[in-house]
Amino acid sequence: MTTEHMLRMGDGKRVYLTKEQILTDLRDGMADAVDLGDIPELSGDELDKLMDIITMPSRMVGVEAGMEVPVTHDIGTIRLDGDQGNSGVGIPSSRLVGCMVHERAFGADTMELGHIDYSYKPVKPVIAQEMQTMEVCQQNMVIPLLYGAMPNMGLYYTPDGPFENPGDLMKAFKIQEAQESMEHAAKHLTRDIVWIMQRMMASGADGVNFDTIGAAGDGDMYASLHAIEALRKQYPDMYIEAGMAGELMLGLHGEMAYDGTVLAGLWPHQQAPLVAKAGANIFGPVVNTNTSKSFAWNLGRAVTFIKAAVKASSIPCHVNMGMGVGGIPMLETPTIDAVSRASKAMVELAGVDGI
């Protein structure tokens, strides 16, 4: 009887596949990345190693000794306190406690202070509270503590913001007006991020984490890159981590460019040089998980994309690993079998500098 190995589908469902089926999925996933990104294939040895990682009998796996990389957490400050509505575990605790537990008990190498609304715009009215919390956290912690939030340019459009919603304008075929609305929103977003970070830096922050750049399309990335540029100019020594929202930069505007490169349609290996050029220290590439494909397909694809991004990047790459990204199935609490295997593959094969 042929041995079957327990894997997951991209939606988390358990499946049992033979080695031949796993290899086919690995190759197909890799081929998809090669085709879309016009990037090199993995070698035969690398595919063999991926196969070894996937079929290891242990419930969870770890990297080889000496290959450990730093790990950082984004919304971790409120993961303890938050209830199931935001992936938290509902343990009453302050954000300071959340940060300190991650530092002292969970082994986080860097940490981020974030607000429950977790976008830059809503931080403006509570900036005094954020400044005070940052200061208190810094007084109690040793590891680098960044301030983090999502650029989330969607909040600048109606009904949440002052500019007409490009989605509504496009439905009415007002394409130029939609593009203008995105350009206005981008300027405001850049201005707000810089304003907030000036205050957080004054409160002792070690830097900033841009979480999910491009979630609202190419205008979101345009605004973020300009904010990075402005912050780097003002704070030459601050840490700037630029994490992406997805693998492909969606062109909701379609024509916005940074440093002469049109942002729409960029894959991780093409995003990396622009992020470095803007002045970030760390690039956080993303590869999305396809919920209808197996873990092997998704991991083959994700490692192929990220390996190319690491090669193209002049700054360290800390790959996004979690629910629905990095080959990991899309589950509210991702399973340790998939998380640990995907993480090991990213470190040992894609060569990421951190997670």
Partner: protein, 214 residues
Amino acid sequence: MSKEETFKLLSDAVVSCKKDAVVAAVEKAKSEGIEPAEIIEKGLASGMNDVGIMFERGKLFLPHVMMAAGAMEAGVKLLEADMPKDAAKKKLAVIVNGTVEGDVHDIGKSIVSTMLQSSGFEVHDLGRDVPLQDFIDKVKETGASMVGMSALMTTTLPGQREVIEMLKEQGLRDKVKVMVGGAPATQTWADKIGADCYAENASEAVARAKELLL
């Protein structure tokens, strides 16, 4: 210029997303005596098909699709006078599309609506966060033969199942095909709730709609 070259010119003009280029290409095709139906089918629609493929591959995006669709519409308008009455206005089928209640994600669903429209379907886009009863009401109002439902969160996904149940309760299920989509949706989910099809992206949505309705 051969007929094939003219069709290529028409197709390339649509892919360029420029209205002026499409209008010029249609005028040229007309002056060469090519039938309007051929100009549309082998030239403009073929170009729109290429736009769909490039969209799927991340080479073109929603504004480009919209501009290409607008350019194609301008081209078709130039041909309407030469076409049999009603032929220009005839739609393939009526589809009601929306993002289910509790879910404010709009972009993917809007792209699907645009692609379906560009492919010749009459689409009634209900928007996002749509009360489930509105899907039923719109089907009754328009006589739609398909309902498309998007959900981007695991918490809103059950709304798709509820609409299917409501269609059954109203005696409409046999008359209406149901398509579901959105990041957490899968073929397995579609099978589980009794949807007629699952589409992973906009191009697939068009293909599935054509398979089921034409």
